[in-house]
């Protein structure tokens, strides 16, 4: 019975968990519910991946309605790839969250925190699972509303302003997206992505579609923090509670990338330049700008969370670059970097969250020499940092290697040089953190710290270990990313 309902269980399980966590109103019970729900979700996600690899596209009709009338869930290789990533990160975040949340959030709000965390996961998984353009908007807003609340739960008063700014920008982004969807709906009379693709074939060159694509791309670009539209991100990541930052940094922008890829490739076809707008050229330009400018800004920050947040904006540049190259190798590289970046940024934010847990601050000045008292935590941070640079032996190297191959394949040799050059900026900001935490004399704060508890170290090291593992034996993620890229470029699922 369960096997045939897998696509919808992906959303029901975390949603049910959220409801039960809210009903429990007790911090520990809510955490237990969240842990079990996210473990079950992960199991469902892996089962889906396995079935997609065996059978191809899985379609599920909510309420038994035909796709013309109702909502259809479509899981293909791309959705399964994203769903596995999001649910695995969510599960690790739940392990990490208990101690971290107890330290950062007042007791009566803990149950609500887990409710919001699960709602956010449900929304993100929903975006990946649904085959309905409007339903994707609803899930986008479910996850976003939960995200705003999560950020506002940060203990610093600036968290409120960060949440407010993200709310404004995020709502504008989602509204632009839904305007684009509306224009498509007016042109095609359907919201089902599969049917839209069929009906768009006869509408090539329509001006409404060009406008729709522009609205959708700009709307999603706001959500994924593409370079000039990223202003909300550093504050949001820096002031949110540590556990929330881990989840957001590893999953939220990644799912937005998925949505962008879905529209650029599946809906608007492999040739992503629609009408008069040279989207791929614009996307390459913005991606390169993202690789350099926020990374350069990261070098001058003093708060480690902000450094990592700005680095996220830069790393998203590599991912969108992969989309813009629009060839098999480049797209594989982009999707692979999406996967690897989720792991390394998850590990990095978990590590800095553990530092905040012990030291109470993420300011670089206060953290000098903390590597001597918290060696395991700082080692995980260092591994994640090396992966951000793209050092051979870490997963970051593999994905950048594919991106460079993709750039060469597209005949853009200068782009390959820029990818390498931009990594030097990562050397600078990662090097600065490494120098301060390992090689300086321990400051007063650092001397008083102890190693982080095992509950925080375990998920952190699973991610850090995966970063190294997938740097040496990259077969599994590369296989997933390559089959997802094949599906996006119009091959068999």
């Amino acid at each position: 019975m369960i096997a045939s309902h897998l696509p919808v269980l992906l959303i029901i399980v975390p949603l049910l968990g959220a409801v039960l966590a809210a009903l429990s109103r007790h911090g520990f019970v809510a955490w237990l519910v969240a842990l079990l729900a996210s473990a079950a979700t992960m199991a469902v996600a892996f089962a889906l991946l396995w079935r997609v690899q065996a059978e191809g596209l899985i379609s599920y009709r909510i309420g038994g309605w035909a796709p013309e009338l109702g909502i259809e869930y479509r899981i293909d290789a791309v959705s399964a790839f994203i769903v596995v990533l999001v649910s695995a990160i969510a599960f690790l975040t739940m392990i990490y969250a208990r101690r971290s949340v107890l330290a950062e959030i007042s007791a009566e709000r803990v149950a609500w925190f887990y409710t919001m965390l699960l709602l956010c996961v449900a929304g993100l998984l929903g975006i990946a699972a649904t085959g309905d353009a409007f339903n994707a908007f609803v899930f986008l807003e479910v996850s976003s509303l939960a995200t705003y609340t999560l950020i506002a739960l940060g203990r610093d008063r600036r968290a409120l302003v960060a949440a407010y700014q993200y709310l404004i920008v995020g709502t504008i982004g989602a509204t632009l997206y839904v305007i684009g969807v509306g224009l498509i709906y007016l042109s095609t009379g359907t919201l089902n992505i599969g049917l839209i693709v069929e009906r768009l074939a006869s509408l090539q060159g329509s001006r409404a579609l060009t406008v729709a694509e522009a609205f959708i791309v700009v709307g999603i670009a706001l959500k994924l923090a593409l370079f000039p539209l990223h202003a909300w991100l550093p504050n949001a990541y820096a002031y949110a509670p540590s556990a929330a930052t881990v989840l957001l940094a590893s999953t939220a922008t990644k799912v937005a990338v998925y949505l962008l890829a879905r529209y650029l490739f599946t809906v608007f076809g492999g040739d992503i330049d629609v009408g008069a707008i040279p989207i791929s050229a614009i996307l390459i330009g913005l991606s390169v700008a993202a690789m350099f400018i926020p990374s350069a800004a990261a070098i001058f920050q003093n708060d480690v969370k902000r450094i990592l947040a700005l680095s996220s904006v830069g790393q998203i540049g590599y991912i969108t670059l992969g989309l813009a190259l629009a060839n098999q190798t480049g797209l594989t590289g982009g999707l692979l970097h999406l996967f690897n970046h989720a792991l390394m940024k998850g590990a990095a934010f978990m590590a800095i969250g553990a530092v905040v847990y012990r030291a109470g601050t993420a300011r670089l000045d206060d953290l000098s020499g903390i590597g001597r008292t918290m060696p395991w935590t700082v080692a995980a941070l260092t591994i994640a940092g090396l992966a951000l640079i793209g050092v051979p032996g870490t997963s970051g190297f593999v994905s950048k290697y594919y991106l460079i191959l993709g750039a060469l394949e597209a005949g853009l040799g200068w782009l390959a040089i820029l990818i390498v050059a931009s990594s030097l900026l990562a050397v600078l900001y990662v090097g600065r953190i490494v120098e301060v935490v390992w090689f300086r004399e321990p400051a007063a704060v650092a001397r008083e710290c102890r190693e982080a508890p095992l509950e925080l170290l375990l998920p952190m090291w699973i991610l850090a270990g995966a970063t190294i593992w997938f740097g040496i034996d990259a077969e599994w993620p590369v296989g997933l990313a390559a089959s997802a890229a094949r599906v996006l470029l119009g091959g068999a699922p």
Partner: protein, 139 residues
Amino acid sequence: MRFDIVLRVATKFILAPLLLFALYVQFHGDYGPGGGFQAGVIAAAAVILYGLIVGLAPVQRLVPMGLLEVMIPGGVLIYMAVGIASFFLGDNFLDYDHLAHDAVHGQEWGVFLVEIGVFVTVSSTMVAIFYAFAGRGRS
């Protein structure tokens, strides 16, 4: 405002019909415009009106915050329970065809039950929003 005789008396006359109207909209949703969402807002409006007239403390004795915190997820739970019940009847999520002896009655029952969940969540959410803003800066 709470000592204004006109408002107090007028509210007394309005409250009961308002709640009744909410129920009408709820149950007539099967045949005409209406449903749990609209009914929930109307019912919440009755509670909020009462709160505006008598003040926050008396209305919170009537509809305590603790009750709302159970009702908000509770309504979603009802909705999901109906959807999950379809699993056990061999249908897809939220497919009500087998909830009764034939598909039409099944759909009617399904929508009816789901709308109750919607009513519970929407009405309690609206009242909770009112409490959150009205209670700010006093406690």
